[in-house]
Symmetry: C2
Subunit: 312 residues, 2 copies
């Protein structure tokens, strides 16, 4: 591949968790189950399906147990659930055989952490350590999510050392088991230098995943910058769902179908069938009854069948 870009890229679909929790209405469990099963048959290998949060805090995901129990997914799809605290882990472990991975989260900045979960970063960190310790004992793949890794809507841009020196909880205990996801809005030069620095600082044992919002339209530019810095794992949401709710009305995460279209056009492999992913996006658009922000959903996949289709 030209420019040292990877030849294949891993994508985790997070729409059923990150997307559905951000919708003003609660989507019916029947629709969720159907959409998740449809997503799991697009060739995706990773899927975040729900979060075990308190129903009074995020009623949109109050059906976590029901959804997790009912979905019927292919063996090869690794299922992830988001765990906010030990109580959430208890609930999840009652369905231990239904999923493969957990993720815990904290913010890079104090203000965002307080706004998001109403406690200081240090407290989130201690909680995360306890959750991860127990999850590992259960043989679960564990991942730490660092929100606002590039910039915080409350505190401004975030210096990489503030992010990288957060004790990388997910790294401990198990060589090779370190997984970190970096979320947020940023600009491309900053994203590139962040991922280059993170790889240098954390070493090859830690698998880095990038998760970009498309708040100001720079999501795919940031993917390009992260690819150039050696990151080959991304998260996205079908239909461009989810993302940062600040400012109000902002667009969501990068759309999975836009990400897949770009990577395939560039000659990279994702394992995902773009037509099948577009069908999922159309389905969720119908369920939600509003026009979603995804571009490829409108434009359709590139059909450049000429001899020079892939020039990279």
């Amino acid at each position: 591949m030209a420019d040292g870009l990877p030849t294949s890229v891993a994508i985790r679909e997070v729409g059923p968790r990150d997307g559905f929790q951000n919708e003003p209405e609660t989507i019916a469990a029947d629709d969720k189950v159907r959409l998740i099963e449809e997503l799991a048959r697009t060739g995706l290998r990773r899927l975040e399906v729900t979060s075990f949060v308190r129903a009074d805090v995020i009623p949109q995901l109050a059906d976590a147990e029901e959804v997790l129990t009912r979905i019927d997914l292919p063996e090869e799809v690794s299922l992830c659930v988001l765990i906010p605290n030990e109580r959430g882990l208890e609930r999840a472990l009652a369905l231990r055989e239904r999923f493969n991975e957990v993720s815990v989260f904290l913010s890079a900045t104090e203000t965002h952490n307080l706004e998001n979960v109403n406690r200081p970063v240090q407290e989130s960190l201690s909680g995360a350590e306890r959750v991860l310790g127990r999850a590992r004992d259960e043989g679960l793949r564990c991942e730490a999510v660092i929100a606002v890794s590039f910039g915080c809507p409350y505190e401004g841009a975030v210096r990489p050392d503030r992010v990288l020196h957060r004790p990388p909880a997910a790294r401990r205990g198990r060589p090779g088991a370190g997984l970190r996801r970096h979320h947020g809005d940023g600009q491309s030069a900053q994203v590139r230098s962040f991922f280059a620095l993170a790889r240098e600082h954390l070493g090859d044992d830690v698998q880095l995943t990038a998760h970009f919002h498309n708040t100001r339209g720079q999501g795919l530019a940031n993917v390009l910058a992260a690819l150039e810095a050696g990151c080959a794992s991304f998260e996205s949401s079908f239909g461009e769902l989810g993302g940062c709710p600040v400012p109000p009305g902002a667009t969501g995460n990068i759309a999975t179908e836009d990400l897949v279209s770009m990577l395939h056009e560039m000659g990279m492999d994702t394992g995902i069938d773009l037509a099948a992913m577009l069908a999922c996006a159309r389905d969720v658009q119908e369920v939600l009854g509003r026009t979603l922000g995804s571009h490829t959903l409108v434009a359709g996949p590139v059909d450049w069948t000429g001899p020079g289709r892939r020039l990279a």
Copy 2:
């Protein structure tokens, strides 16, 4: 600047021509004049205001003479008009003192050229040579626009040699006066290699401008790739107007406010006041009475005032 990116970038606003001609309704000349005058006071240095096309072909720009006559712009703004043929040049030259630049256009592929102007490329090329010769005699800055430089909705991906070996009309006659704009949809690796090759092939005498559609959300990623390949001149449309009308419903050109936001976040200078540009986008959104695709119009400018605001 990190990564060898330019410290300042030139932007030509093309919304009044490329955007307005793609709207289903004709915008009133009063609105056009107000919007163009507003745009010209944002710090922009280049503005494409209209095209001297036949009124029966593009009725949306039938008021070219009226608009060009009425607008009152600051001295430092260079005004460009698009010229499709010699008849169009005649009309434009009757208002010779009202503008500074002309651009002529042709497509990189036969099919697109036939669909667009109903004649073969060779015929467009001869016509362009005649227009450019005469325009140069009038002391006008001249630029050649090559549509579908990266990929054609009819013929597929376009090999760079097909584009670069088109006799670069704008290059002849006057050393240093060569200007070329490359339009279209593409993917980032291809865009990067195209601009690297173009610079090598055409030399420093030819100023290259990139013009990207945001059809599949990759517009700003393509800007990043072009910047990395040494291109420091771009075109865009306020509100994300214009762009490729194939497929129907597709989003437009990259939005000027999204481009400016990204470049400023990356620490580059454009000379443009982003708040003033956003006011223009809000104004045109109101005139058109529909929600436009621009992201920064919804999200607002980044307000990351922390000490680490610019980390690039």
